[in-house]
Symmetry: C2
Subunit: 338 residues, 2 copies
DNA sequence: TTGTATGCGTTATCAG
DNA sequence: CTGATAACGCATACAA
């Protein structure tokens, strides 16, 4: 009962032309007379013909797909990034094969291989986790290996290597700046909270440490779980109380806010809190959290453009590393300077 | 400088066998002697051979991919669902092609067609929006059309049709129950807030109305934007004040909480608020929002299983509609009954 | 401008 | 158990 899908031969036969001509019409070649084009087009329309992508892929060795690897979509930042990427790529006629890898190296590698075996035209790794911790370079070898086959783009992480392209945020600079401003406002005991040792997290940490040390203050980096209540409890368990907190993401910041509230610390008078990613979480909190915006839309847009330049092999040679600036979006958990 | 990818002929030649034998080894046929199998396997290993998926697809008419269409990933519920689906499908050896369609019908249709043209083995539509509003059946015709080619699964929405399978939540029942409990606790002016007229939203509304009418109270359904501040402002602009709010999602609930706080209404004494989806937003809010959990993990898991049964064509005939129960997760915006 | 013939890499059907 | 060979559907170099 299944209706067979028409192929190029059916169209050719019905239109009284050769398959070559049909192919030319489909691919918009200009070497076809208007008359035959119309004729063929009509038959195509009538049959509802679509070229078989497998056959196309076989010959052309591409199916116009991009592989996207992301640790998890259960994270506002990642999910939003994938959303932007997919829309941008589709706009250029590319489809996306998605793979959620988790955070373990072996899984990352295997997902990467699976995607490569599907002959994607390029690979996008979303998130700083793929850049490793900067210490163990072998943890990113699989990426350089993949880059031998297709261009690899990494969002919010930096890896050096042939054919791998990075888009990173100026995390260090912005955190240094934001921390510095807090210090100028008189804060003396600012803590930095993070859940990972990724490339991105380390940069934020560096920015924090630079600002703190420059002011002659003690630095206090606390590693926490990426979970609201864990953060709250962990902080509650400490005797010392901060008068400022920089969190590596908004979820941690929410935990910090809950801690401050439960500890009876007045926000932002007795404690200032800054989140990261400027996600919906920052706005959901009460008080609403001032958060560093890392311009996801821009990052993704740039990445897509560079992929297209790379794939189309036009004159434009994309640079291997692009840096996007960040900025603090002030809400209720920080005081304004001046 | 590019290293050519080895094909089945290379392997056959090097192993001194025919391509047929190589194919048999690759596909685990039992009609191969142990000796040749080992020999071939060794060569495959050495060359790092992987079958070309395009060629496979050409012959087998499938590339083991499932198309996932979602309106947007910038939504916790959808993103989480896609995450579950992808992981589940991969576990069964299927890859996912992702498409973000937005909410407009023409876009939904076109994304659907694009995916079908990629010869996906099945289609998953994530979200109630694909089920239309139940009034204009033609708005879902494209789905039934797609179902003529591949099985279509819809998450959290119900569409009747040959070869289309739905997994829905017991939205009506749970909302009716939750609203009823609120009424039992003495609430007399409960409002229902929603941003859409989707299948799912309508069911929640029905549940609300049923409970309210049963108690002889007035129903008050308010359509809002799906935006925290819009909700807050819209409610602030009203003269009447509710003593209970049921929100169709957590983001709206957050807006409701912010409204209540700004209006000086004590939560939960003077006003109770219930969200939907039990997302991270519910926990980010202060006070933390009681929210209805629609068991996304379970819904997705069931969907994946049914897809596999369908594709594998084993004896098991999946039912066209499965209903998953929901339950309220109590936090700080509701009082406990009894 | 149009048609012919070939390659793309598998799987599957037959013979052997 | 193994090998030759025919699909699978398209793009394209080469002829006409």
């Amino acid at each position: 009962m299944k209706k067979e899908v028409p192929n190029i031969y059916d169209i050719a036969e019905f239109a009284n032309v050769s398959i070559a001509t049909v192919s030319r019409v489909v691919n918009g070649s200009d070497k076809v007379s208007e008359a035959t084009r119309k004729k063929v087009l009509k038959v195509i329309e009538k049959f509802g013909y679509t070229p078989n992508v497998f056959a196309q892929g076989l010959g052309l060795k591409t199916m116009h797909t991009i592989g996207i690897i992301v640790p998890t979509l259960a994270d506002d930042y990642m999910a939003t990034a994938v959303d932007y990427l997919e829309k941008g790529l589709k706009r250029h006629g590319y489809d996306c094969i998605l793979s959620c890898s988790g955070f373990e190296l072996t899984e990352k590698q295997s997902k990467c291989d699976m995607l490569l075996s599907k002959h994607v035209d390029s690979l996008i790794l979303v998130g700083s986790t793929y850049a490793g911790n900067g210490v163990d370079a072998s943890a990113t070898d699989y990426i350089r290996e993949a880059a031998k086959k297709v261009p690899v783009f990494i969002i919010n992480g930096n890896i050096s290597g042939e054919n791998v392209y990075a888009t990173v945020c100026e995390d260090e600079a912005v955190v240094c700046d934001v921390t510095g401003k807090m210090i100028e406002r008189g804060r003396k005991n600012i803590w930095f909270l993070t859940d990972s040792r990724s490339y991105s997290s380390n940069n934020k940490k560096k920015g924090y440490e630079k600002a703190v040390e420059r002011a002659g203050l003690a630095s206090n980096v606390i590693y926490v779980e990426n979970d609201i209540h864990s953060v709250k409890e962990q902080l509650s368990g400490l005797k010392d109380k901060p008068d400022g907190i920089i969190a590596a993401n908004d979820k941690i910041a929410v935990g910090a806010v809950k801690y401050a509230v439960s500890a009876g610390l007045k926000i932002p008078d007795e404690i200032e809190i800054v989140g990261y990613n400027n996600s919906i979480l920052a706005m959901s909190s009460t008080p609403e959290i001032s958060s560093i915006d890392n311009h996801t839309a821009e990052v993704c847009h740039d990445t897509v453009e560079r992929i297209m330049h790379n794939l189309n092999d036009d004159g434009y040679k994309p640079s291997n590393k692009i840096t996007i600036s960040c900025n603090l979006v002030c809400r209720e958990t920080t005081k304004v300077s001046d």
